[in-house]
């Protein structure tokens, strides 16, 4: 008994230490974000004088930086472009990958086997090993760069392998074939069976894939930078890049611009925190 009570206090002490350590690390982690928020509200001369001073010690607190960044970045347009690309690519890859995975699971033929093996193998190919021929083919031979559709198509293609792999595992493990047989007996066509019976059952894995894919599409820089150059079509990361190039000395505006890019995701994160973290964990562990 005595022993356990000693263990109890010791545990309390070590837990207190753990907590203290965590809080210190956590503050260090958040430090860059805090700096961005503080400095986005300051004037340039105050930033240069003392970038880490707290808000109440300076005078020129204002939202001017945000107004400037908002207009100079063409924020609304870039946001709209990012939204269109992300939503269309996500919907497309989710639908096509689910259908393809379903076909592969239910048809054990040569095409299924070869396609699936190729997809699994292709997952280790980094984007950089494909980007040069990709630009040669789509920019040179086909000349279809600078269209949103091209980017959406490429996003879809690149995330296909991973998505099919995840759907494949889920369908194989969780969707009993008896259900589909019952649907056929009741007179469903294959299409109806898939969309009315199977697809709704895929909800958990769809949620995971939508989160993983849309985050990746929203934040991607390299692929969009190769496909889109037309100023009207730039997505948020691309317009951040050109904005930063033009205003790199205007720190306040830059900080406001960066914050504007981050805020939409953070809002979504606060609302969907549980789903996002759950999705990422199950995506990684599989």
């Amino acid at each position: 008994m005595n022993n356990s009570s000693i263990g109890g206090t010791r545990r309390k002490v070590t837990n207190g230490l753990a907590m203290a350590g965590l809080i210190i690390i956590f503050i260090a982690y958040m430090f860059p974000f805090i700096m961005v928020v503080i400095n986005s509200l300051k004037e340039k001369r105050d930033i240069i004088k003392s970038p880490f001073s707290w808000l109440f010690t300076i005078k020129g607190l204002s939202f001017d930086n945000f107004v400037k960044a908002f207009t100079q970045m063409d924020f609304l347009n870039a946001f709209k472009n990012s939204l269109i690309v992300t939503v269309s690519s996500t919907v497309l890859v989710t639908l096509l990958a689910a259908m393809l995975a379903y076909y592969i699971v239910r048809h054990n033929n040569k095409i299924s086997k070869i396609t699936f093996a190729l997809m699994v193998a292709s997952m280790i190919i980094p984007f950089q090993a494909i980007m040069i021929p990709l630009v040669s083919i789509y920019g040179g031979t086909l000349n279809v760069l600078n269209h949103r559709i091209t980017l959406i198509f490429m996003h879809t293609g690149f995330s296909m392998a991973m998505s099919v792999f995840m759907f494949h595992g889920f369908i194989k493990g969780n969707i009993p074939i008896a259900l589909e047989e019952a649907a056929y007996i009741d007179g469903c066509t294959h299409r109806q069976t898939f969309f009315k019976i199977v697809f709704p059952l895929l909800k958990p894995i769809i949620a995971t894939m939508v989160i993983l894919n849309s985050l990746a599409f929203w934040n991607d820089y390299l692929l969009p930078s190769l496909v889109l150059t037309d100023k009207e079509l730039l997505t948020l990361p691309l317009s951040t890049y050109s904005f930063y190039g033009t205003y790199s000395a205007d720190y306040g505006t830059i900080m406001a611009g960066l914050l504007l890019c981050v805020i939409p995701i953070l809002i979504l994160y606060v609302v969907l925190q549980k789903q996002i973290i759950g999705g990422v964990v199950s995506g990684a562990v599989k």
Partner: protein, 290 residues
């Protein structure tokens, strides 16, 4: 599904997805292998077949080997620091302290933001905030911007990557710790295992599957680092922080040597594939069932 309408099913269900995949991944990959055998500059309509000349140029491209060496150094630092930190933080988080979910969510935040924006945020921190701290305190470490010194700029890259990647790994390690069987932990304690012994002989072997995943993810991500490299240092000062992926990009799209660039990209791919293959093989062998 019945075999009779197999063809129709194939067109309706499998073909669209397969088309995207083959057109965007397989076709360019195969075409890329062909590109390494030509002297194409990305613009001209003439492509001459040059055989192995591009690979010979790669051998002579000392900048590529420098950047590859730097990438190796970077990968080693990032993989080790990220995994030790994430493992330790996950361990602390799963001791039943209050606010576990809050911390976990906070640590994950950098992962939600693209590498480009993160790099810019840190560029400001290194070039302004740290310098400001240096001026106020007189610490020589912060006197000048880290980004203007080759060694410190490299350290900055490692620091930012660790900051960015560890949140993701914390999630995976936390899931691993939560999956540890309480019975086994209790049995170990009753048998007198504490602290270091318990960690080494009980926890580490049982966490091996999480470690396999985390090592694999950090390895492949660190090797292909580009966004953060571009926005934080862009290779500066004087190209001393140019990583392999960035060098490949420059070679193809700035120097207009598509064949050489693609040859270097393929070499990089083979190296990454071999190293992560070996890593998965080695760590998988260590995995045990509780």
């Amino acid at each position: 599904m019945k075999g009779k309408s197999g063809g129709k099913d194939f067109c309706g269900f499998a073909l669209p997805g397969m088309f995207c995949f083959f057109a965007v991944v397989i076709l360019p990959f195969v075409y890329g292998v062909y590109l390494t055998l030509t002297d194409w500059n990305g613009v001209s309509s003439v492509k001459n077949f040059v055989g192995g000349a591009n690979f010979l140029s790669v051998l002579k491209d000392s900048q590529f080997w420098t950047s590859l060496l730097l990438t190796f150094k970077y990968v080693i630092f990032v993989v080790i620091i990220v995994n030790i930190m994430a493992f330790a933080i996950a361990y602390l988080l799963t001791r039943g302290i209050k606010g576990q979910n809050f911390f976990r969510a906070g640590f994950f935040t950098p992962n939600l933001i693209g590498g480009l924006v993160l790099g810019y945020i840190w560029q400001f921190v290194f070039s302004r905030v740290f310098v400001g701290i240096g001026e106020a305190t007189g610490w020589s470490l912060f006197e000048a911007s880290w980004l203007s010194d080759p060694n410190l700029a490299f350290a900055a890259l490692v620091l930012v990557s660790v900051w960015q990647l560890s949140g993701y790994m914390i999630l995976i390690y936390v899931a691993g710790f939560m999956g540890l069987s309480q019975d086994v932990m209790e049995a170990a304690s009753i048998d007198g295992a504490t602290g270091w012994v318990k960690l080494r002989s009980i926890i580490l072997p049982l966490m091996m599957s999480s470690i396999t995943i985390c090592l694999f993810l950090t390895l492949s991500r660190a090797f292909m680092v580009y966004d953060v490299n571009l926005s934080l240092t862009a290779g500066a000062p004087y190209g001393t922080t140019e990583m392999a992926a960035m060098h490949v990009y420059e070679k193809a799209f700035t120097s207009r040597q598509f064949g050489v660039g693609q040859a270097e990209a393929l070499i990089l791919f083979v190296i990454v594939a071999i190293i992560s293959g070996i890593q998965v093989y080695l760590t998988k062998r260590q995995e045990v069932e509780a």
